[in-house]
C-alpha cells in the first residue's frame, strides 16, 4: 500500500497511457468495418467497438490530465500531501473502468454518444471527480498568487463536474419530453465538456512550457490571462455551432455563431508567435516534451482553421453530417490534446534528456505526425464526397455514396494502421523505459 500510493500522479499517467494504447487499437479495429462491414458484425460490431474506442480516448485525456495536475502540484508545493485521498481517487477510476469495459464486452449499453456505458457508472466517475476537486482545493489553498494554469485547472475541474451532471439530465423524464430540448441539452453538454477538459490540458501545456523554458513569468503574463478568459467564454457559450441545423431557439444559434468568431483572436495570435517559436525550437528540439508541444501548436493551427470555417452557418451547412466533423474531432483529440499530454507524460515520467536519444522515439514521433496528416486528409476527402452527395439531384442511394469513398476509406485504414503503430511505439517506450529507470534507481538505493 505504501509503495502503491507513493506517487499517485504517476499511477494516473501510466493508467492513462494504457488507455491511450487501447484506444488506438479499438479505433483501428473499428475503422476496418468501414471497408469490411461484415467484420465482427454479428459479435461485438461497430456498436461495441466505437464506445470502447471513444471511452478509452476520453479517459486517456482525463486521466493523463489528472496525473499531470497532481505531479505539477507536487513540484509547485515540493511535497506530496493527501496521498490516501489521491489513491482513493485513482481506485474509483479503476473500478469505473473495469465495470464499464465489462458492460461493453457483455453488450450492456444505455448511455449517450461518447458516454455509452450504463448511467450507474457515471456515479462512480462523478464521485472520483468530486474527490479530485477536494484534493485540488486542499492543495492550492496555500498558494497566494495563482498563475494562469492553476486558474485553468480549477475551471476545468469545477466545470467538468457541473457539465458531467448536466450530461445526465436525460435520466429525468421531464428533459426527454421535447426531443429538440433534449437534443439541445445533450449537445450543449457535449460541446462544453470538451472545453472543460481542454482547460485541464491547456493548463498542463502552460505549466510544462514554463518549466522547460524556465521563464517563470509565463503563468502571470497578461496576454495569457486574456486568452484564458477568451477560452473560458468560448467553453461556456460557443457550443451552439453543433446545432445550426437543429430547429431550436435562434438565440442559441446566434450566440454560438458570434462567440465562435472570437476564436479568430487565437488564430491571429498563433501566426504572430510563429517566428519566436521557431527560434525556441532550435534550443529545445531534441527534448521530446518540447517537440510534442510544438507539434500540438501546428495541429492547433490546422484544427482552428477547420473550426473557424465550420462555425460559419452557411459553410457548416456543407460540412455538417460529413466526415469533416470526424476530422475536426480526431484532429483535436489526437493532434492537440494527445500531443500536449504526451509532452506532459514525457516531462513527468522521463524528465532526463538522455532518455530521449532514441531512434524509436524519432520514428514514433514522425510516424504519428505524418500518419495523422494523411489520416485527416482521407477523412476530409470522404467529407467532400458526402457533401456533394447531399446536394446532388436526383440523390443516389446511401450505399452508392459509401462506395464512391472506397479509395479514401482504404487510405483512412492504412494511415490509421500507421498511426496506431507509431503511438504503440511511443506508449510502450514510455512505459518500459520509466519502469526500467525505476528499477535501476531502486537497485542503487538497495546497494550497500
Amino acid at each position: 500500500m505504501k509503495k502503491l500510493n507513493a506517487n499517485t500522479g504517476n499511477l494516473f499517467l501510466i493508467t492513462a497511457l494504457v488507455l491511450f494504447m487501447a484506444s488506438v487499437v479499438f479505433g483501428f479495429l473499428g475503422s476496418l468495418i468501414y471497408r469490411y462491414p461484415e467484420f465482427l458484425r454479428d459479435s461485438i460490431g461497430l456498436s461495441g467497438l466505437r464506445p470502447m474506442h471513444v471511452t478509452a480516448a476520453i479517459f486517456w485525456i482525463l486521466l493523463a490530465a489528472t496525473g499531470a495536475v497532481y505531479r505539477s502540484l507536487e513540484e509547485i508545493a515540493k511535497q506530496q500531501n493527501y496521498k490516501l485521498l489521491q489513491f482513493i481517487h485513482w481506485a474509483l477510476w479503476i473500478v469505473a473502468i473495469i465495470g464499464i469495459y465489462y458492460a461493453y464486452f457483455t453488450g450492456n449499453f444505455g448511455g449517450r454518444e461518447y458516454w455509452e456505458y450504463p448511467p450507474e457508472f457515471a456515479i462512480i466517475i462523478g464521485l472520483a471527480w468530486m474527490l479530485f476537486l477536494i484534493v485540488f482545493i486542499l492543495r492550492v489553498r496555500a498558494i497566494k498568487k495563482w498563475p494562469v494554469y492553476i486558474w485553468m485547472w480549477l475551471t476545468g475541474i469545477v466545470y467538468f463536474l457541473f457539465i458531467f451532471i448536466e450530461n445526465y439530465l436525460w435520466v429525468i423524464p421531464y428533459f426527454r419530453e421535447s426531443f429538440i430540448k433534449d437534443m439541445v441539452i445533450q449537445w450543449k453538454a457535449t460541446g462544453s465538456i470538451v472545453g472543460a477538459f481542454n482547460m485541464l490540458v491547456y493548463g498542463t501545456a502552460f505549466y510544462v512550457m514554463e518549466r522547460i523554458s524556465k521563464q517563470a513569468n509565463t503563468g502571470f503574463n497578461n496576454w495569457v490571462f486574456a486568452l484564458f478568459f477568451l477560452s473560458f467564454f468560448n467553453m461556456l457559450f460557443n457550443w451552439g455551432h453543433h446545432l445550426y441545423l437543429v430547429p431550436t431557439n435562434p438565440t442559441i444559434h446566434y450566440v454560438g455563431y458570434i462567440v465562435s468568431m472570437t476564436e479568430w483572436v487565437f488564430f491571429i495570435k498563433i501566426l504572430y508567435n510563429w517566428k519566436s517559436q521557431v527560434t525556441e525550437a532550435e534550443a529545445y528540439y531534441h527534448y521530446f516534451p518540447y517537440r510534442f508541444l510544438l507539434a500540438a501548436n501546428f495541429w492547433l493551427f490546422f484544427n482552428l482553421t477547420i473550426a473557424l470555417f465550420m462555425s460559419v452557418p452557411v459553410i457548416n451547412l456543407y460540412m455538417h453530417g460529413t466526415h469533416f466533423i470526424t476530422a475536426h474531432a480526431m484532429g483535436t483529440t489526437i493532434g492537440i490534446n494527445s500531443m500536449i499530454l504526451l509532452a506532459a507524460v514525457f516531462y513527468f515520467l522521463l524528465p532526463e534528456r538522455k532518455s530521449h536519444q532514441s531512434r524509436w522515439l524519432k520514428i514514433g514521433f514522425w510516424g504519428a505526425q505524418v500518419s495523422l496528416f494523411v489520416f485527416l486528409m482521407a477523412l476530409m476527402a470522404m467529407g467532400v464526397v458526402k457533401s456533394l452527395w447531399f446536394f446532388e439531384a436526383p440523390q443516389a442511394p446511401f450505399a452508392e455514396m459509401m462506395e464512391r469513398s472506397r479509395g479514401w476509406i482504404v487510405l483512412f485504414i492504412i494511415s490509421g494502421l500507421s498511426l496506431m503503430g507509431s503511438f504503440l511505439l511511443l506508449g510502450l517506450y514510455l512505459i518500459i523505459t520509466s519502469f526500467r529507470q525505476k528499477a535501476v534507481s531502486l537497485k542503487k538505493k538497495l546497494e550497500p
Partner: protein, 138 residues
C-alpha cells in the same frame, strides 16, 4: 501582470459563470414547442423510444440532424417511410447492420421516437435557407 488586474480575475470568473447559469436555466425550462411538421406521436412512448435508441447504440452508425455516426444514413425523417420499413431493417439487417432483436414493444417505442424527430423538421441540407448574415434556417 499589472497589479490591479489580479482582483479582476475572480470577478470576471464569477460574472461569466453567472451568465452561463442564467443561459443554461433558460434552456432547461424552455417550454416552447419546436415542431415544423404536423406529425402525431405518442408522447410517453417517444420518451421510452429515446432510451431504446440508446440501449442499442443506434447513434454509433446513424445520425439525427447530422449528429452521430457515419456508417449508416441520417434517420431524422425515416418514419415518413412507415413502420414496416423500419421493422424490416431491424428484423433482417443489412450487409453492415446486424439483426437487432428488439421486442415488439421496443420497436413500437423506437418508431414513436422517430415520429417525434420527424415532427421537429427536416434534416436534409437542401431544405435550409441561407440568410444575408451567414445564418441558415428551415
Amino acid at each position: 501582470m499589472i497589479p490591479c488586474m489580479s482582483r479582476w480575475i475572480p470577478i470576471t470568473f464569477v460574472l461569466l459563470s453567472a451568465a452561463f447559469l442564467v443561459f443554461s436555466w433558460s434552456i432547461y425550462f424552455d417550454e416552447a414547442i419546436y415542431e415544423n411538421k404536423p406529425a402525431e406521436y405518442d408522447a410517453e412512448m417517444q420518451k421510452q423510444g429515446r432510451l431504446v435508441w440508446q440501449k442499442y447504440n443506434c447513434h454509433v452508425c446513424h445520425q439525427l440532424y447530422g449528429l452521430g455516426g457515419f456508417l449508416g444514413p441520417d434517420l431524422t425523417n425515416v418514419s415518413e417511410k412507415g413502420f414496416y420499413y423500419l421493422d424490416a431493417f431491424l428484423k433482417n439487417g443489412t450487409a453492415s447492420m446486424p439483426i437487432f432483436e428488439l421486442t415488439e414493444e421496443e420497436t413500437q417505442q423506437l418508431f414513436e421516437f422517430l415520429k417525434a424527430t420527424n415532427a421537429s423538421g427536416s434534416s436534409n441540407p437542401k431544405d435550409y435557407r441561407k440568410l444575408w448574415n451567414g445564418m441558415i434556417e428551415q
